[in-house]
Subunit: 519 residues, 2 copies
Amino acid sequence: MGDESAGRRRRSGGREGNARRVSGFHLEQMPWRIPKNPDRPTEPVDPEGVLAIHKGAMRILSEIGIEFLNDEALAIFRQAGCRVADQNVRMGEDFVMEMVRRAPASFTITPRNPERQVVIGDGHMVFVNVSSPPNSWDLVRGKRPGDFETFRDFMKLTQVFNCIHIAGGYPVEPIDIHPSVRHLDCLFEKLTLTDKVCHAYSLGRERVEDVMEMVRIAGGLSHAEFEASPRMYTNINSVSPLKHDFPMIDGALRLARRGQPVVVTPFTLAGAMAPVTMAGAVALSIAEGLAAVALLQYVAPGCPVAIGTFTSNVDMRTGAPAFGTPEYMRATQITGQLARFYGLPLRSSGVCTANVPDGQAMWETSNSLWAAVQSGTNMVYHAAGWLEGGLIASPEKFVMDCEVLQMIQRYMEPETFATDPDAIAFDAVREVGAGGHYFGCAHTQARYQTAFYNPIASDWRNYEAWAQDGAVESPERAHRIARGLIDGFEAPPMDPAIREELAAFVARRKEEGGAPTDF
Amino acid sequence: MGDESAGRRRRSGGREGNARRVSGFHLEQMPWRIPKNPDRPTEPVDPEGVLAIHKGAMRILSEIGIEFLNDEALAIFRQAGCRVADQNVRMGEDFVMEMVRRAPASFTITPRNPERQVVIGDGHMVFVNVSSPPNSWDLVRGKRPGDFETFRDFMKLTQVFNCIHIAGGYPVEPIDIHPSVRHLDCLFEKLTLTDKVCHAYSLGRERVEDVMEMVRIAGGLSHAEFEASPRMYTNINSVSPLKHDFPMIDGALRLARRGQPVVVTPFTLAGAMAPVTMAGAVALSIAEGLAAVALLQYVAPGCPVAIGTFTSNVDMRTGAPAFGTPEYMRATQITGQLARFYGLPLRSSGVCTANVPDGQAMWETSNSLWAAVQSGTNMVYHAAGWLEGGLIASPEKFVMDCEVLQMIQRYMEPETFATDPDAIAFDAVREVGAGGHYFGCAHTQARYQTAFYNPIASDWRNYEAWAQDGAVESPERAHRIARGLIDGFEAPPMDPAIREELAAFVARRKEEGGAPTDF
């Protein structure tokens, strides 16, 4: 795929932007920014409906209870006065709401490059790369298990695209690295190939502690500085219905105690792990999420948390999960209403069921990304690169999704809906008159370079020009862009002493055997 | 493309729905319904901004004026007390608003099959097929000029899909039929192959009168019955900036005087035929639209009208129009705010710039269709089948778009956001308990057949099952579905006497030479 000429030709031509020239490959993209969502959220449910779901969640917590497969958590709940029977924990509304009120409505996370700080909450919206697929798929090699080189490729894309704010979980699981040391190699790459906020999997004490230490070293921080404000985060999932397992809760407690944010995301698939009705699935999700939030706020009052939604439905013919459906959209919007009711930041996702980056992939992903906008989501997981319900990460899909993310960012810019006299442009209308043309008028000339969104992977030429240039469809265009960006990648700067310290830490921990793999 | 086995296999399996079996091809689709949009519209502009755009439009109308290339219209405006100089008409806010207030907030249109009646306005949303591309494109034959057989194919798709409510303009221009009689042949096909609401192009007296007469005959109506309520409609475009041409206004006047609805849709492309700023382009569009509405309401007080938005932006590198952009979305939402300010129904569109039904086509179309939802659009033109900025109609895209339209219809169904105790499902959560499964519980079993959206063109199987079955991507799946539906098409019933009368009318008008083609 060496010929980038079509892509280069399309992207030439004197437009402003945050031009990035790497080894002859030129990507014009929007500058880094943390978009703020100006839209009033879509609220499918009325206030009584919000209350009904809240009360449903509270009844689940007080009358049915949540299982915590973690002795430390059980002891804490017992101490807090909750009813604990074996691993079942029941908690009253007063306790839950008192704990929830301790959580901040928004917080920042500051990575090793402070210019890449993100805000979670307060109307902002940040985008996280695809996280955790076991496989990758690309146009040339098809579907194959994740490996370390592919992991690195995705880290490069994560770093290059300004519309990706956070380097979340592993874009693919690198199965060619032994699980005991995988987190060490992956985090070393993540922290050196990117300078964005990163994430720790809550998969056991050693992994979590190693990642926190590596983020601290990469930031050049003392232990006290690390704990003084959020520098990274974890995301935990419950085992729906009604269970939290040991390692997730263990990791969450470790981060919360050191002031690092925890996102709690139940995976409540309506009709499978949750009620077949969307409000029921949301109520279950809220109950599971708030149970963990309550635990963390009891242990570390005021620690930064967010609730995640991953409520979708199954295909009732097969039982397989479906994403980007109308039901998914409504569940996301409704969870947004609940998040605002509790004053917590919201995480949702950019998801699809499709296996390849075709039309289906993009209508499903568009559904989920617009639902994220409409729900007031603050943190969009899997915002770029996801396929096959999360079983595949694809570089082509990554680039195509970044186009949509950039359009969402542009959509949120106040210039697109300004109504000052300059925007109403009465004088220009008078100047051009009837039957005239606006290209040449002063009002247009002063604005045309930045007036409109400038695409990266779209081809806006007419059919004939497009056909004469090879009739290249969007996955192939995206493939060329991804290839060009990966081949021409230059890592962000890092103090050599810090890099050395990081490498030494990895070497020492590998010598010690890394993390146990027997859980 | 004779092998429909993949499609058939996917669509078998005992789901409820509005099953349609035609010649062995089975399409499970949603039943006919007129969806009602329950969402509060997205309002990017505050009330002062709405007023600023309104005042901008009023200043354009009173200080700059609109050119009407139609002597009858000029005489009417003169009679109404407007300032007319040559073809320029200036009108004051009081007059415009008095005329606008005469228009109904909503109206029905009843085609020959009264069960296909549509409501335009009052929170409803109806979908119109792709209209007016000169060319078609399909997977087998590529791009080629429109012809009569292809016109007929699209009419069949328009009829078969329940989510298409209106047979709008010609899906392709059939250039193998002489322009003088094209409207006669096309309308005969439209009125016999479909039983849905149809449309007349305002392209000269004879065409408009012929179509009205044919719709009257097809409905078995007396002249008085035809005029008693809307039975069809026309859509007119201004020649932006600031002009209305002769035939469009002529046709609009003819329909309005007989009580038939007129949609007025300026094509204000920001940076070309309109100011480069979106609020300016919308103000110009509103001015042009209301000028025609005022004319029609003066002549036929209370006649049904709607305002259309077709405000998008150009690609500033090439001057070519771009569709489905962030700017397009905001312009659509803002025009929705203005439509509600004036109490008029709104028409927008399902549009894209892409040349083929790939990922780009679907993210652009999704953008425009969700903008239609967010703007409170009542009538979505080009809702299925549009490509290349309106230069291509594609059967594959038609089917893919119908999937998105069905999802929008499902999204609007109250069951997706119900919060009654049954939906909260507390008892089911208690019954299933921790770690259980919801497939088998009574709450699921009672609902699973209708709980979730059931797709038509999506493939929700996992990668391996999909790959083993031929790795068929969405355009190919859509192609098979379109082919199966066209090949197995059965026309809706029509009284043979009416069909004969219609054929006789066509024969007579052809003998008379049809319509003049010299304008």
